[in-house]
Each structure stands twice: as C-alpha cells, then as structure tokens.
C-alpha cells in the first residue's frame, strides 16, 4: 500500500473512532439526563406529598399515626434519593461502578415504596385522602422505575 493509501486508511479509522466516541457520549448524556430528571421528579412529587399530608392532617382527614406511617416511607425516599443525587452530581458519565451503586439504592427503595403502597396506605380511612397519598407514592414509584430502567435492571 502506498504512503498516501496508508494515510487515507488511518484517517478513515480515526474518523470512525471519533464517530463512535460521539455516539457513545450522546447516549451517556441521554441516560444521565433521564436519571437526573427522574431524581428531580421524585423530589418535586415528594414536596407535594409532604404538603398534602400536612393539609390532610390539619383538616382531620388523616390521623397522626397515618402521617407517621406515610412520613416514614417519605423519609426513606428522601434519604435514598439524596444518596442517588449525590452520586449523579459527581458523574461526567455513567460508569459501571456508579451504575451498580445507584442500582443498590434505587431497587430496594422502589420495593419499599411499592410495599408502602400495598401496606402503608391501606389503613387510611378517608377515601379521598387515601387516593391522594396513593397517587403521590405511585408517581414516585414511576420515577424510580425510570431510573431503574436507565440502570439496566
């Protein structure tokens, strides 16, 4: 192969490598963006749920024990999502170790939220209050599922 041909081949390889790099970077960007959005969604829904709990308690629609039960679930969400945010904050890209660390936080949390939906909300007597709290916890579960899907598990 002539010197010109070798240089052309080298250029082609470099161009292919660059293209691959760009595609990989764009994919990472999209994944991280979805995770960051879902983490923010969890916090926004949680803020609404806390206000809702306070309002329902003040109106006498739920008992202090109900607030403690649902508040306990929200506290779990707050702590775990805080840990997930701390990991995401430092990421330039989603490496395997961070993916695994995030999965270790999100999967048990999702299970806890689903358990809360099944067991924690059931004792709330007022049907409107029960529906409202269920809707908040369900929305949080949806956001956590999005994160779980992005993590590939």
């Amino acid at each position: 192969m002539s010197r010109f041909g070798r240089i052309q081949l080298l250029r082609l390889r470099i161009a292919a490598a660059l293209l691959l790099l760009v595609v990989l970077a764009a994919c990472q960007d999209a994944t991280l963006k979805k995770i960051a959005q879902a983490e923010l969604d969890v916090e926004q829904t949680q803020a609404t749920a806390i206000k809702s709990l306070d309002t329902l308690y003040s109106a006498g629609s739920i008992t202090a024990a109900d607030v403690q039960t649902v508040g306990g679930i929200l506290k779990q969400i707050n702590v775990a999502n805080g840990q997930a945010i701390a990991i995401t904050k430092n990421l330039a890209q989603l490496d395997p170790a961070s993916r695994s660390n995030l999965r270790d936080i999100i999967v048990p949390l999702l299970n806890a939220v689903n358990a809360g939906l099944t067991n924690g909300v059931i004792n709330i007597k007022d049907p409107t209050a029960r529906a409202s709290i269920s809707a908040s916890l369900s929305a949080i579960a949806v956001s956590l599922t999005i994160i779980q899907q992005q993590l590939g598990g």
Binding site: Q44, Q46, I50, L74
Partner: protein
C-alpha cells in the same frame, strides 16, 4: 504530516469535536443535567426539613 502527528492532533481535537457535536445535538445537554441535579439536591434538603417538622408535629407524646 506523519501519522503520529495526525494522531496527536486528533487526540487534542477529539474532545473539542465531541463537545461541539454534543452542543449541536443536545443544545441543553450537560448544563441541563447539572441544573437538574442541583435543583434536586436543594429540594431534597428542603423536603428533609419539611418532613422532619411534620413528623415532629405528629409524633406520639413521650411516655
């Protein structure tokens, strides 16, 4: 230009090109991610305070 020089040049230009293409394909790209994470972090801290206040307000009286 010899191949080694081309590789050196490309290794310098590649990250710049990647960022440029990312900016063109994702106009709100990494800046949005940072903004979202920062917003989530601030809201997480606020939610922790609000939740603590609510749990204290409704805590059973100490025996």
């Amino acid at each position: 230009m010899d191949p080694a020089s081309i590789i050196t040049l490309i290794s310098v230009l590649a990250p710049l090109a990647t960022n440029l293409i990312l900016m063109l394909t994702h106009p709100d790209g990494s800046q949005t991610i940072i903004a979202k994470v920062q917003a989530a972090e601030a809201l997480n801290a606020q939610n922790a305070k609000d939740l603590e206040a609510l749990l204290s307000k409704t805590a059973p009286p100490a025996k």
